[in-house]
Assembly symmetry: C2
Homo-oligomer: 130 residues x 2
């Protein structure tokens, strides 16, 4: 599909993908997609990433039930970053982070150290039961 | 500084950095920083990136006057992505993109093609005069 050819994949065949919560505007996470993951994301309307650590496709929510419904797929001016507008499913408020937090960006620079400033909404031990 | 050591720099010594407009929540751009760029960003309170194409530090706004005032610096759970909450200075509404648009993420996937869906706020020819 030609729209996939428009993307400047990096030397590993990946592109960074930002997931932003559509309703709140909160930036939830950044993960990576290869060509197959982005094609699947567009076809299913749910986010499918490429896990660099596990080296396999990762249908977000496959273990937690916290799927991401995709409303909008954006590409930046250099065609090397993708932005998804999503609804984070499975919990209210949505939990995107494997630590049980809303967003992965819960550490804030405070002086010369990082400090966790967002609450854990659900114990991860109760999320990853499957 | 130890907070810089907490970051998992990639094999090129870089980290991807998302700039989000503090007031609106809009995701403006993604660029990259090396250790020096992030240290300068924190010290100055203005975004300083590493330009991969020009291979030099890039004080955002140095040519356009469109500086980014940094209110908050966040790190994600894997310590390999940074999120800045910024005010995009120099124009109202803010212009983060070199095309003269508010955000770099102005191309939306529409069926099987990318379509520009955000207006040009200022002609780039009049932005890059210096």
């Amino acid at each position: 599909m030609s729209w996939l050819d428009d993307i400047k994949w990096d030397r590993d065949g990946l592109v960074p993908v930002i997931a932003q919560e559509a309703a709140s505007g909160d930036v939830l996470m950044l993960a990576w997609m290869n060509r197959e993951a982005l094609a699947l994301t567009a076809a299913r309307g749910q986010a499918v990433y490429w896990s660099r650590s596990r080296r396999r496709l990762w249908h977000k929510g496959e273990e937690s039930g916290h799927f991401q419904q995709v409303h909008d797929i954006r590409l930046d001016c250099d065609a090397d970053v993708v932005l998804l507008k999503v609804t984070q499913l499975g919990h209210d408020p949505g939990i995107a982070c494997h630590t049980g937090r809303h967003s992965c960006f819960y550490s804030a620079l405070n002086g010369d150290r990082w400090q966790a400033v967002e609450p854990v909404l659900q114990d991860p031990a109760t999320i990853y039961r499957r």
